[in-house]
Amino acid sequence: MSATLEKGVRVLKEVIDAPIASYFSSCVHCGLCAQACLFYTETGDPKYTPIHKLEPMRRLYEQEYTVMGRIKKLLGLSMPVTDAELGQWQELVYNSCTLCGRCSAVCPAGNDIVYMVRKMREGMSASGNAPAGIKDAAKRTVTIGSPMGVKLPAVKAQMKHVEKDFGIPIPMDVEGAEYMVLLSSMEIMNFPEYLGAIAKIMKHAGKTWTLCSTAFEATNAGIQIGNSDIAKVIVSRIVEGAERLKVKTVISPECGHAYTALRWEGANLIGRPFTFKVQHIIEVLGEFQELSLLKTEGFEKDRLTFHDPCQLARRGGVIQPQRNLMNMVSKDFVEMPDAGYMNWCCGGGGGASAIEEGEELRLQAFKVKKAQFETVKPDRIVTACANCRIVLEEGLEHYQMDLPVVGLTEMVADHLVEKGAQ
């Protein structure tokens, strides 16, 4: 078996639904979506106009599902979609789209463009036109268990390390715990302190929690590559783990697409509602804060700003909790222009950061973040997504801006009053 154009076309026919038909019928080529897309605003190249990224799918829709399109195709006025064309579109559908959803937020016709890009990726992946970088990540996620090839022993090593660093035991496979914590490979590999922060916060709030040995990885490369079958395999592991451990809530880590994959797509992928709740760690912290379970001391004294991860804020509806948390531990929290719902993407979401050949474009697109930071001139940047964090650091490094980037969860954990000291 292998990927073919026929497969891609068939999958596209399968995923084209009434919203997509309505969206294509509503587009008037006003070009406003381009103004919302950082890949256009920072390059000025009109080929990055979001709606244009869907051109092959639009034609296929027209040819397959409208009478006029069929007639046009018969008359040779509308060319059939070819494999070469899809190959050409790879750059537009993957490299220059982070699924950030700003286009969907501005379209005056109401078109949910990012919804269509997500569906278009189904056809792209089924026809073998996904970029090698994300393909490899997806393969590793399925065969090894994590897109970065992180295996359980590595997690255990980090656990042990964190236990020593923080002096708090890390529970694993505890049945009946209230929370099951997921990690992203990014956190396991690059930011082990995240796990320590969770341990500290849970202990502080007096909640029971656990890691799961069969489902520790939340990153869903299936969602990024846009393949529901593969995404389903990955989500199923988590569902199976959560149900085996009978947890009430599964906490999605500081990773944007992991959250979207589990919170919004998960139930639809496995075809039934979850028996547990899914929350992003920031939502959990926000809830703790509201219930006065978090007692903090001291404040960060430098000027901080918050970078909203797209999947958490615009695509996930979590906008206020992170601000409440920032104000709890910071005296000088400033908002960037467009912060919150309309925040600009770091440029590396949706699998884009795994695409080697897209790096130059990514750095070019980063100019929009640079401008945002320059407006408010913070001393440090806080965010709540491990991938945003790395992409931001790389971008800042590239433009030689001396700005540390820190995780909100760790920052909150740092300010918690030690239980013994109370």
Partner: protein
Amino acid sequence: MGIQNDKEFRAALAELAITRQRQVGANFVRQVLDLCSDVRVKAALLAAGRSDISDAELALVAQSARSARVASYTQCGKDTGWTAQAGHFVAKAVEACVRAAVAGDNVAWDAAMQARLARTCQTVADGMGTENNEAQAQYQILDAFLKT
């Protein structure tokens, strides 16, 4: 008998003055330095060991250490090379040694933790699992350092 566990280790480090913390941190890093090939890391390490270093110089090497760390990140979705990842943690450890610090910061402890992560990555890469004796080695380094 010297330091036996992390609790004592951490407390002992916390009592050191910041310059001394940097120096002992540098000693921890030196243990794992061969896991990293970045020249910026080596330069920063030398600076961390010096007692007469100025704040301006420190800021400069801190920046180059950070560049080394950022450059060695494993990106989301990219395959993890454990050897490369070990290098990343070495850079991170060095950065801890030279970063600007305020009272109450325990830069030596942070450096020690990152150095242990680097060692773990190396043993994983070598197929020896995650067990190693880096902690014990660090206890001895500290004991020796305290005696000087």
